[in-house]
């Protein structure tokens, strides 16, 4: 006999539950998923993405096929792709939601039905008990049969009491000890309690992802019982939490997107290539359907050219030192010439004092002129050079670290501000359309440039972690630093371009956007390759 008709009830809409899996919930493998210093609390992309205007642009942006037509330099899209060009095997993965995973589980339940000849609600309970592993379930089933049903709280033979909600009656509830007119609920076991106590009991357990049983015996509540007591599709929340715990338990092949409020799960289909990745010091960067990219290995944001080891060390070190170094996180500085307080409001490090018009570099406080034209000197740390901010620190090593940490955080802060800038880019694209009739597709070069800027900035940021752990005397390190300088320069120049507000000027300088973005892409790629070389050759090594 087929039970398929009733199966519709299994395909419930998942509630938009407000309890999102938090960062810490998601990964309990001990790897840091966030830091306590300011820079790491919030990956840059997490800021203010609730702005709906911007969300739309982001999702529309996935039209990859557009870019070749609209970029002068046809370059590949993500850092992951950049790395793929080398010998690293490509990663096979899919992006799912808990709902999608649940649906695939339901289809397995359907497959099992003819084999087990049990109602699908019962099979669903068995699947939960065996952590959605049908092979193990079938094995145990052949061995134990009826005992399995008893163990799983499904055997109701010999029980004669009715199952379900009973109409209102005068009732003494042994849980709350109140005697009053109330509806009640019980399973076949006859353990009957008032509906309020049952609701409270079930509600507390919906998020645990475990089978809910009678309060006084092992008999299991099925989804239809839960919905009958709670009303609506409450069992969907239980299924959702059950899938979530399944994902947590299979963290080798399933990972949550670590971005706030993102409900995507990345499923790695082929885990065999992973070893190759760590051998090559490459990281397994993935992107979810919402366009969030992160490292599958450590759950951190994209951290190339650093590998997971360097990232882990760097993050730990930063956590240890952040209290000593919190001065670097300040957002305001005094103008080096007239001492007016200046707040940094864009990602670009080229500052112009609003009061005296002095142009200076945010990082070193020096005159901008030597930065803008040829070379971006701020990436070179000279041991002998007295840094005003750290001159009081007695230890030379701390001073060396302080410099790299400062560079790292400056780019972190810049990246955040760039992302804010991104929100206005959404408006700018709209402005292009409305004010001067540019088509939506044509306006996409702005969004594309912003993405490139972000990728460049991220690579630059993490390159300081690699540089910190590199042997400073080695020639390749010097080349790496040169590459940092070139990318730095390219990024600042693109960031500055993105500050332009007037739609007419933006359109007029469209080619410049293409060129500068293309240049940033090439420089990013060069820096990433060089960084990986440093790691491969052991010139840069994660260490305490």
């Amino acid at each position: 006999m087929s039970d398929l008709d009733s199966d519709d009830s299994l395909l419930l809409e998942f509630e938009d539950d407000d309890e999102n899996v938090s960062y810490l919930d998601t990964y309990d493998d001990g790897k840091p998923t966030h830091l306590d210093s300011d820079f790491a609390k919030v990956p840059p992309h997490k800021i203010d993405t609730d702005d709906s205007e911007f969300d739309i642009d982001e999702s529309q942006f996935s039209g990859e096929d557009l870019e070749d037509d609209y970029l002068v330099f046809p370059v590949k899209k993500t850092t992951k792709d950049l790395l793929d060009e080398d010998s690293v095997p490509s990663l096979k993965y899919e992006c799912l939601t808990t709902q999608e995973i649940f649906e695939s589980m339901i289809s397995r339940v359907h497959h099992l039905q003819p084999v087990l000849s049990l109602p699908s609600q019962d099979i669903l309970i068995l699947m939960q008990r065996y952590d959605w592993n049908e092979e193990r379930l079938l094995e145990e089933w052949t061995e134990k049969m009826d005992n399995l049903l008893i163990e799983s709280g499904l055997n109701t033979s010999g029980e004669s009491n009715g199952r379900g909600v009973q109409n209102g009656k005068e009732f003494f509830c042994p849980i709350c000890c109140e005697e009053r007119l109330t509806e009640t609920f019980s399973l076949e076991c006859g353990h009957e309690y008032c509906i309020d106590c049952y609701r409270h009991y079930i509600k507390d357990r919906l998020n645990n992802g475990k089978i809910i049983t009678c309060m006084d015996c092992p008999l299991a509540l099925k989804n239809e019982d839960i919905d009958q007591v709670m009303g609506g599709a409450s069992s969907a929340r239980l299924m959702d939490s059950s899938i979530k715990s399944f994902v947590r338990k299979h963290s080798n092949s399933y990972k949550w997107c670590p971005y706030t409020d993102c409900k995507c799960i990345i499923h790695l289909k082929d885990t065999s290539s992973l070893q190759e990745y760590s051998r090559l010091h490459a990281s397994r960067f993935v992107s979810c359907n919402m366009g969030h990219s992160f490292c599958f290995g450590c759950g951190f944001e994209i951290h190339a050219p650093a590998d997971c080891g360097v990232t882990d060390q760097w993050v730990k070190k930063a956590r240890l030192e952040c209290e000593n170094l919190n001065w670097v996180l300040s957002h305001t500085k005094e103008c080096p010439r007239c001492s007016v307080n200046i707040e940094k409001n864009g990602g670009c490090n080229h500052m112009v004092c609003s009061s005296c018009k002095y142009e200076f570099c945010w990082i070193c406080g020096g005159d901008w002129t030597p930065h803008g034209s040829s070379f971006y000197q701020c990436v070179i740390y000279k041991n002998g050079e007295k840094n005003k901010l750290v001159a009081d620190t007695p230890k030379k090593t701390l001073r060396r670290y302080a410099f790299f940490y400062k560079m790292f955080t400056e780019h972190e802060v810049s990246a955040k501000l760039d992302w804010k800038l991104g929100e206005t880019v959404g408006f700018k694209v709209k402005g292009l359309q409305e004010k001067i009739g540019v088509s939506w597709i044509e306006g996409q070069f702005l969004t594309e440039s912003l993405k490139t800027l972000n990728e460049g900035r991220t690579a630059l940021k993490w390159s300081f972690a690699v540089a910190y752990y590199s042997d400073p005397s080695h020639n390749l390190t010097k080349i790496f630093i040169d590459n940092q300088g070139l990318l730095s320069n390219a990024v600042e120049s693109l960031s500055e371009l993105l500050q332009i507000k007037s739609p007419e000027v933006i359109m007029k300088r469209k080619t410049e956007f293409y060129n500068k973005a293309g240049y940033v892409k090439n420089r990013t790629k060069a820096l990433l390759e060089c960084g990986r070389d440093l790691l491969l050759k052991g010139i840069s090594k994660a260490r305490e």
Partner: protein, 151 residues
């Protein structure tokens, strides 16, 4: 303070009128959710002849949430740590609102009768227990005489 739920009143009354042998539980006058508890060490266990003092508190959400219980008398037991905290499933994941103060205290008494060093809270004690059970038991007996002697 909000009035005491009927459930707590009922349980308190029954604990007084129909006490569990070897177990005493009395609420504090100024906080009726807070109980002074005594448990006699089970016969034929290293805790025999000891009287152990505990404290028990019924949180706001009781009986949906488990009671909180702690030993006040020092005890050498692999599932009880140096501060008297107890590792017992019914106090944690396996709590059910159908359980009661008396069933919890009975479970604790049963835990004294059969320690479970494979699921330890006090790791050093559990190690002793696995390495040399005889020695551990004699130490538990020693502590019982030392700290839990009948007054």
């Amino acid at each position: 303070m909000a009035s005491l739920p009927k459930r707590i009143i009922k349980e308190t009354e029954r604990l007084a009128s129909d006490p569990v042998p070897g177990i005493g539980a009395e609420p504090h006058e100024d906080n009726l959710r807070y109980f002074a508890v005594t448990i006699e060490g089970p016969k034929e266990s290293p805790y025999e002849d000891g009287i152990f003092e505990l404290e028990l508190y019924l949180p706001d959400d009781y009986p949906m949430e488990a009671p909180k219980v702690r030993f006040l008398t020092r005890i050498y037991h692999p599932n009880i740590d140096r501060l008297g905290r107890i590792c017992l499933d019914v106090l944690k994941n396996n709590w059910s609102p159908a359980l009661q103060i008396r069933t919890v205290l009975l479970s604790i008494q049963a835990l004294l009768a059969s320690p479970n060093p494979n699921d330890p809270l006090a790791n050093d004690v559990a190690e002793d227990w696995i390495k040399n059970e005889e020695l551990a038991i004699s130490k538990a007996r020693e502590w019982t005489t030392l700290y839990a002697e009948k007054k």
